[in-house]
Each structure stands twice: as C-alpha cells, then as structure tokens.
Amino acid sequence: MPHFTKPAEGSWTEHFGLGTEPVSYEDSISSAHYELERDAIFRRTWLNVGRVEQLPRVGSYFTRELDAARTSVVVLRDSDGEVRAFHNICRHRGNKLVWNDYPGEETNGTCRQFTCKYHGWRYNLHGECTFVQQESEFFGLEKADHGLVPVRADVWEGFIFVNLDGADTTPLREYLGEIGEGLVGYPFHKMTQVHRYRAEVRSNWKLFIDAFTEFYHAPVLHAKQAVAEESRKLQGIGYEALAYGVDGPHGMVSSWGGMSPPKDLSMVKPIERVLHSGLFGPWDAPDIGIDELPPGLNPARHPSWGMDSFLFFPNFMVLIWKTNWVLTYHYWPTSYNTHIFEGTCYFVPPRTALERLAQELAVVTFKEYGLQDSNTLEATQTMLESRAVTEFPLNDQEILLRLLHRTAHQYVNEYRQQTATPVRVSAAS
C-alpha cells in the first residue's frame, strides 16, 4: 500500500514510459563502452564546472581537469566581467597553459594575463595572444591567429557550464529543460558558505549517481548511523518518494522531510538535539528572502516535504533542502571503473557559532554517509565485473537509475550512428 499517491498508470516508471524490464550493467563494466561515453556524452553535453562566486573579480580563474572529455579547461572572468572558458593549451607547442607544481592538478587564482611556462607566450583575458617570445624568428606568424581555443561557456542560476561540442548550438537554458526552468529564482547566490569534499571512487561514474538518485538503500545501508530503535523503525517503513519528474535526459525526486526537526527528540543523537542539525541539515532555516518556492521545488506541494534532488545529465546533481541549504554532487570519470566524486555543501553564512556548529554537523554527517556509500560502490563494481549475474531488477523507487542508464545509452547510440563506429558492446573490457 503506497503511502504517497502514484500516477494513474500505477507506477512512476510506467508513467514516464521507461520500461520495467531488468537492466544490464554492461555499460558500467566495459572499457570500450566508456571510451564511447567520453566522446558521446562528455564532449557533447553541458557540464557544470563551478559557480560564479568562484570568479569574484576580473581576472579570477580556475582550471578544470575534464579527463572524461579528454581536455583541461580554464574558466575565467574577462575584463568585461563576462565568464569565458578556453582549452587549457598553449598555441605554440601545446604545453598546458595554466597549472601549478603538478600539471594534473586543478588550480585557481587571479591574474591579468596568462604566460606559458615553456617559452613565455602570453594571452589576455579574452584569450588573445599578446606576446610571442622572439617573434621575428617565426615564419609569417600572426599573433591574431594564435589565440586560445574557446570553449562555449554559459551561466544558469550562478552555475557555470561548459560545452565542448563546437557543433551543438543548444543554449544551456534549453538543455536544462523544464527541470532547470522550475528552479529559476531560487536564491543559490545567498548560500556562499561552502564546504567541498572530494573522493577518488573505484566504481563507474553512473553507479554512484545510481546510489544518490534512490533512497531505497538509505534505511538499510545506513542503519548503523541512527540510534538503534529509530533504525529498526526506518527499515520497517522502507522508503517512498513524494514524486518523481523526468524531462528529456534530466530527472528529479521529491522526498519527505524525515528528521528536520524530528518528531521525537529521542530519535536522534545527543549532539543533534543540542545543535539542532543532522543528516537533513540544520533544523532552523535561515531567511533566504523568498515567500514561495519556485514551482519546480516540492512539485507535489506536500506538507511533509523535506528535500528535492535533481539530476542534470550527465553528472551534476543539486539537492535543495527545506531548511534552506543546498548540496551538489559531481561525478568525473577517470576510467570505466574509477571516478572522482565531489560533494559540496552550500549554506547561508552563519551568524552565530551555534549556526556554524550546526552546519559543521550537517557537513560531517554528509561525509560519513558518503564514505559508506562510496565503499559499497567498490563492492558493487567488482562483483558486476564478475559477470556472474548480468540482469538486474529495478523497482519503482529506482526509476532515475533507469533514466540515467537509458539516456547514457541513447547518447552513445546516436553518436555511433553519426560516426558509424563499428558495433562492439559485449564482454570486451
């Protein structure tokens, strides 16, 4: 007996026409498939690489290592105040232009121009080549023809995206579709207190998204996180979402509030009782200056709403909590069975030490859950690779997993058709 209303078709999965058959995880254990995903997905979609607050002034920049997309980009604020992105490569002989100490590590800072470490060519904030060392030694070289190679960059609600596909002309806002549109106006810019975490995870990138787009696992995998009695209760109830949404490649799940604040204080740990905070964030919501939530949040307008989780294909998730804080996840593949996970907590800056400690508790709780999740993934990846089982049933609360894998397949298939790459799926890895 569902606790929350399902669509007329009887399930969310059927409502969105995603199929109810068991799924194969071959797309997560094949290195040949991953090579296709790099070109078909990561070089062809809008990728979120940061927020505008990371570029506070003219000349602010950061680099992003986009291994999956086979490049590194430098993202900056130019002298007109616009956000721009370039491939991080020098036009002279291909050295990586912006890096510190370790060429493979991301960096950030503020500058007036970029100077290549190799032979000193310089580029201004518009990417124009402004200086060539011993220019007269070259043969008819035009500086004007040797600017940095631009990458399309755009900003949505303060989130900076890049798109490496020169041929794709879909504007960012259109790409993010109705799901993105439903969040427009949410005051992300007020949440400038940032805690960012990073992990190297030994699983395919999609498996971690799978773990974070369903809450079916939460009462079980994280049972040891709650006090014993509460934990038994949660397992007995299981998990059901308030609503799901799908638009094109993107999806969302709307969830009830759980424990923010808990109905009964004995359900939570002593420190949570004192600090008024926990897994669902600080219980006392700061003012964020809006009377009504944008329409995309709590779409069912359910009174026990607690949090919505949005998956913007391919690898960007935004979680917006009832008590006015935000969590984002990014999954950056580094091979078919490894990726870098980033989790970032955004809060309104605390006014008091108590608020600061409440945020710390929320952040550290997120970290502890994340550690369990990511360790479990390694266990999943290795067993999937055994191919002892090749078909897996997914329930209705796992609908966004179907969406993700199906969408990823579609991108790969379209790419294959366009480039006529010989078909080679199966067991090769």
Binding site: Y197, R198, T352, G370, L371
Partner: protein
C-alpha cells in the same frame, strides 16, 4: 600558556583538539583510541551550550584567537560525536579505506 578562553580552563587538557581544518580533525579522530575520544567527549559535551553562548558575543568575522580555538575545539566535538554516540569505533562502519577529503571549507 592557556590557549582557550579563561572560562573554559577546564577544557585545556583537550586544547590539542582546537584544530582549524576538518581534514586534520578527522585525522586526529582516526588516530585516537575510543578511550581518548570518550574522555574528550565527556568533558566537552556538557559544556557545549555554555561554549555556544560564550561565542555568541562575537561576530563570526571578528573572533579573537582564543574564541576561534574554542569554536574549532567544538568542531572537533562534532567530529568525535559519531564514534562516541553511535558506532563505538573511530571509523564509520563499512567504509573500509575509503577517503572523502575536504578540499574547501570556511576559514573559521
């Protein structure tokens, strides 16, 4: 040399928990025994409310050094509360050797 505000002299024996970054707080938790974590928790937890009222007199952006240290010590209490209150072990269960490291966090 006391490092915490005079009102919290009783916590001086645990002043080495006044650590500025989450990564180091977490590392100290992992390298401590449950007895050490328990002793810190038993002394610091009952003073949590007193500490937060004491800290409330300062603006978050303009805390004197000893107040900052008190705040960091209480960030450490948050870090050790998990093993002490629930798991009875310094590491979260079922996490193997997984790492999730802070790469950006507030200065105070």
């Amino acid at each position: 040399m006391p490092t915490l505000p005079a009102e919290f002299a009783d916590l001086e024996p645990f002043a080495d928990w006044a650590i500025a970054t989450e990564r180091e707080r977490y590392a100290k938790r992992l390298s401590s025994t449950m007895d050490e974590l328990q002793a810190f928790y038993d002394s610091a937890f009952p003073r949590l409310e007193a500490a937060s009222s004491y800290l409330d007199q300062f603006d978050m952006g303009a805390m004197p050094d000893e107040a900052k240290r008190l705040l960091w010590l209480y960030c450490s209490l948050v870090t050790v509360s998990f093993p002490v209150e629930v798991w009875r072990q310094p590491r979260v269960p079922d996490s193997g050797s997984t790492r999730l490291d802070a790469v950006a966090e507030p200065v105070v």
